[in-house]
Symmetry: C2
Subunit: 116 residues, 2 copies
């Protein structure tokens, strides 16, 4: 199979949508778009993410081929995360969704208040 | 507040990212982009969604100001869901992410197989 159909309940594209729809994956992707980063730097940059969740997110993204993990033989060893070409190809669509969220968060909060 | 910052852990933009990152919300949005739809038609079109989850998704989207629910005084009453202007403004970024998922699902599945 080479292309999917999000409207087919049996199509694995839905699993992919779930994964890339995850907030932490989106934030990691946006962070790494600027270049490789170490774990601690990613954690500082994203803010509010626990080490456990960040580790799980990075492992899932590595598994999906979006991120690479490179260990440099230094003392202490340095570990860097970077986007793959596939990861980079997701950047623009993701950045557009994040920009939409930043731009419209005020309207959404007002709508929620009016509704309740 | 008028614009948000996804990298600020205290910014409600993250709550918005979670909501719009939801797979079912994305599919409802893509469906309704073509015009208003009744519940049963939406359910058929999306496929694999339970009535309960579809109801919850639509209510959440209504609350966020993305969708309207209109009741027509007919026998039996007709209820139609439609995108608001805000909902329409999210269509293009969402469609780009869904298209990316459809286009790259093959690569992601191959990567997952190699990893395990």
């Amino acid at each position: 199979m080479d292309t999917g159909d999000v409207f087919d309940p049996n199509c694995p594209t839905r699993v992919v949508l779930d994964r890339i729809g995850d907030k932490w994956s989106a934030l990691v992707l946006l962070c790494l778009a600027g270049g490789p980063m170490r774990f601690t730097r990613l954690r500082e940059r994203i803010g509010g993410v626990t080490p456990k969740v960040l580790t799980q997110t990075l492992r899932a993204m590595e598994q999906d081929g979006l991120v690479t993990r490179e260990v440099f033989a230094e003392v202490p060893p340095r570990v860097e995360y970077a986007l793959t070409d596939l990861g980079h190809s997701l950047h623009d669509p993701m950045a557009a969704v994040a920009a939409w969220a930043e731009q419209h968060v005020g309207e959404i909060l007002r709508s929620r208040e009016m509704y309740s």
